[in-house]
């Protein structure tokens, strides 16, 4: 392998020659891929604007400079809505994700030929489509407002929660399940006594983790009319009210940092 014997002397290299070449080819490939991609991007970029950006940024910063704190009074309601969208959306998601996860986990699925692929498809579809796109579609159906936001967050989070949950279910200790089955329990009882206690901590952790992500996600739903503080952000940017924009950004940062802190604390308590 990496020990090379030559003329009775041994020398050592980190990798055998073939592996070494493969690794170097990998790096080269990555560099080439980057450059090729970069060329396409740069073709579509007006570099004059980019070069101009530092001045633009300085200009923008000076316009945002003293945040308009009086606007804060009008932001509490949208902020409350934002948090509600995240919380209720997460609740909706975990209620729907639990059965899907049980259908998707290899060891609990009722039917691995039909039910499992369907569950896996629901999971990947939900995960692939961003909550903003869900919101875009739901606003058309349900009309603008907070309901569209809640459902959008819920639909987007099903995939995330169900994926992590079914992975947790697949990792449970089968001996405990066996032991409960051996007592003569029914399938539902086995689930309740053998499986659920094992995945409860993971389940709680996943929900809180997703809630924290959803706080961040729900700050932008207003851009497409699905409620929350994004609505005010969009309006302020449209009206070039930059001092208001800076207040909104500051309040978003503090909310997100706060929710992250809560979520970390709660997860610690569970583990």
């Amino acid at each position: 392998m990496a020990v090379i014997t030559k003329d009775g002397k041994r020398s050592w290299r980190r990798r055998s020659l073939r592996n070494q070449l493969a690794v170097q080819a990998g790096w080269l490939g990555a560099a080439v891929a980057f450059l090729v991609c970069w060329r396409f991007i740069s073709e579509k970029t007006i570099w004059m604007f980019v070069l101009d950006a530092p001045q633009q940024a300085a200009d923008l910063a000076s316009r945002m400079a003293p945040p308009d704190w009086s606007y804060l009074a009008k932001l509490w309601k949208p902020l409350w809505d934002t948090i509600n969208i995240a919380t209720l959306g997460t609740l909706l998601a975990i209620v729907l994700a639990a059965p899907i996860a049980f259908c998707a986990a290899r060891n609990t699925t009722p039917n691995s030929l039909l039910v499992r692929p369907v569950a896996l498809f629901i999971i990947v579809a939900s995960r692939s489509i961003n909550s903003l796109i869900w919101a875009l579609m739901l606003v058309t159906i349900l009309g603008p407002g907070i309901l569209a936001g809640i459902v959008a967050i819920g639909l987007r989070s099903i995939g995330f929660c169900a994926k992590l949950l079914y992975e947790a279910i697949e990792e449970i200790d089968p001996r405990q399940v066996e032991a409960v089955t051996a007592t003569g329990a029914s399938t539902a009882q086995v689930t309740a006594f053998g499986i659920v206690p094992q995945i409860m901590p993971a389940f709680a952790g996943i929900s809180v983790f997703r809630w924290d992500i959803n706080i961040r996600e729900s700050t932008v739903l207003g851009l497409v009319g699905a409620g929350g503080i994004g609505l005010q952000l969009n309006a302020s940017i449209m009206n070039l009210a930059w001092t208001r924009v800076s207040v909104i950004l500051l309040i978003i940062i503090s909310t997100v940092v706060f929710s992250e802190w809560i979520s970390a604390r709660v997860r610690q308590a569970f583990i």
């Binding site: 392998m1 990496a2 020990v3 002397k9 041994r10 020398s11 050592w12 290299r13 980190r14």
Partner: protein, 284 residues
């Protein structure tokens, strides 16, 4: 010659781990450091290569004052001091060879070490050492594939390839079975002898200390309470170091040369104390 004077360490928690330690270790001496957990054994050896910064006092290795060194000097001094750890402390995801060669990091520039292009003599030396400890077939194994004794032997190679003047050994046998413990201790002592190295060995197993060391220092509450020959370790001395306990069995077993009644049961069948003593006699 290693010389400590007035070495004191107070942790930020306020615990006084070492109180005014004065200690000299002449070249070529293998010294065992015994004492109860929390006596400051680990702190003492870590204060020498400054993995722990001493609060006050001085440490001289030959004529270099270790505790006055700045970054670069400290690096250079550290490469003269090999260290062997409790629970081996190998980098588990690196191969045996990479672990051994990491002992040369103080000598090799960053870029060479990044691409694992170590100088030829270093690699030859690594092979020689691995052969010496019977590990040369394992060169390309990852460290986490090895058994405990094998890992500790890799750790020994890593320390020795530094070409050190002094070995610091921190509980080398803490997680090994009795037989492997003896083999490892014997290996360390033999290698020290071969290379004329001095060594400080932290060890909680009094029996092993008595068998292998030329000198024993007892530490209690950060102070030296015994310093002398291993066979002077009487029950009275052990009581002073560790506190009240029936020490007769620990020592008695050794005196009769028979039953090995102490903590180290179970290895009599192939390596009884008798051949042990003869080897030791040959070494000193």
């Amino acid at each position: 010659m290693l010389k400590m004077s007035g070495l004191t360490k107070r942790y930020r928690t306020g615990d006084l781990a070492l109180r005014e330690i004065d200690l000299e270790v002449p070249d070529g001496q293998v010294m065992a450091l015994i004492g109860p957990s929390g006596a400051g054994k680990s702190t003492l050896i870590r204060c020498i290569n400054r993995l722990v910064e001493p609060t006050s006092g001085t440490v001289f290795l030959n004529d270099i004052e270790l505790n006055a060194l700045h970054r670069k000097g400290l690096r250079r001094a550290r490469r003269n001091i090999g260290m062997i750890f409790q629970e081996y402390a190998l980098v588990e995801r690196l191969t045996v060879m990479e672990n051994v060669l990491s002992g040369r990091l103080g000598y090799v520039g960053f870029w060479r070490s990044l691409f694992r292009k170590f100088p030829r003599p270093d690699i030859a030396e690594a092979f020689r050492l691995l052969e010496r400890v019977d590990l040369d077939p394992m060169v390309d194994k990852r460290a986490d594939e090895l058994s405990g004794g094998q890992r500790q032997r890799v750790g020994i190679c890593r320390a020795l390839i530094q070409n050190p003047l002094l070995l610091l050994v921190d509980e080398p046998t803490a997680s090994l079975d009795p037989k492997t413990s003896r083999q490892i201790m014997r290996l360390i002592c033999e290698l020290c002898k071969e290379r004329g190295l001095s060594a400080i060995i932290n060890i909680h197993d009094v029996q092993l200390a008595r068998i292998f060391a030329e000198r024993v220092v007892g530490l209690r509450m950060g102070e030296i309470v015994y310093d002398g020959l291993p066979d002077r370790l009487t029950p009275k001395v052990l009581t002073e170091i560790y506190g009240e306990e029936d020490w007769e069995t620990t020592i008695g077993g050794e005196k009769t040369g028979g039953g090995d009644a102490g903590e180290n049961e179970g290895d009599d069948e192939d390596a009884g104390p008798h051949p042990e003593k003869e080897r030791l006699a040959g070494m000193i």
